[in-house]
Symmetry: C2
Subunit: 190 residues, 2 copies
């Protein structure tokens, strides 16, 4: 009878996929984490595990867009906007304790809707930062490369945090991000 609220259900699903990856996110684990039996999960997600992963990716993308990327489009000093993004990312990844779904779901997933969604999410993220950097006066190419660098550093520091159990590199990366992205471009070397 009582229906578990969708947001909380997705939160718990997200947690499982982040921690165990796609193949490791068995229905047993999902069932235990959500408190729903297998059949109930299939009622909510007729497409099974793949649909659950898609829903989780979709929701994460929406959260990131609404909370981390949206501030980039607002007014105010560029550095401040980037700090707001960093703040939200720190929250999203729980200071480095949580993995990124774009990484966790990149193993053991055949090409299909999930992979398409991942690719699009990565592009959206990079584009949002690049657009903002261009508006701050950087050239198109520099903006694009630095935006990619930003996402690369975030992803890499999450990998390192997971491998070492140390959150410091992730937090330092977030802290330094605004200055690194906005620093004056150096002229090409001889």
């Amino acid at each position: 009878m009582s229906k578990i609220a969708e947001p909380e259900l997705l939160n718990r699903l997200t947690q499982v996929f982040r921690t165990h990856g796609y193949e490791g996110a068995s229905l047993s684990r999902i069932s235990k984490a959500t408190g729903l039996q297998r059949a109930s999960l299939y009622h909510r997600f007729p497409g099974g595990k793949a649909e659950m992963a898609e829903a989780v990716l979709k929701r994460a993308g929406e959260w990131l867009q609404a909370h981390a990327l949206q501030p980039l489009t607002e007014s105010g000093p560029p550095e401040r906007r980037l700090r707001q993004m960093a703040e939200k990312l720190d929250e999203f990844y729980e200071g480095g304790r949580q993995s990124c779904l774009l990484d966790a779901l990149s193993f053991g997933v055949e090409q299909g809707a999930i992979r398409d969604h991942q690719r699009a999410a990565m592009k959206t993220w990079v584009d949002a930062i690049a657009t903002m950097l261009r508006e701050s006066g950087l050239s198109g190419r520099t903006a694009q490369e630095r935006a990619e660098d930003a996402v690369i550093r975030i992803q890499g520091s999450l990998v390192m945090a997971r491998a070492t159990g140390d959150q410091m590199p992730f937090r330092r990366t977030l802290r330094n991000l605004p200055q690194e992205l906005l620093r004056k471009p150096e002229p090409a070397r001889a």
Copy 2:
């Protein structure tokens, strides 16, 4: 009768773990990739999949040490040594087409020997770069942070390459690494 050579066996095992992660590396897939039946695999690795993963990690660590990190300790200009490391990493990760085991095996693996091995490997890698940067005149703290940054960027660019299918960010990261690591430290801002 005929025994498959250990190096080639480990090559194929590595390939499977890199592509599918730990849980996705099923014995069926491993069997198909190596041409050995389940029972034969258990003859080589009595500890089963966990022992295979450990062997693969051990070998990858040795390769990295011998080919990518060892040049850092040799004589010659620091930038040249770093370029040699980058060259070997490009080879190791096949220009970004291959994942890092430290990432692939960080999902769905409980704490134990594999995790210990990962943590140690990450530390060895960072330390080798940091030592080299200190010898090049950077302060201990700057050297440590930049070494962490280097590994972070490599890992992150591999994640991005996998998510987008584009190798360019990975190659650019490797190309810029030497200059980024050796650049003159900026004085702290007001």
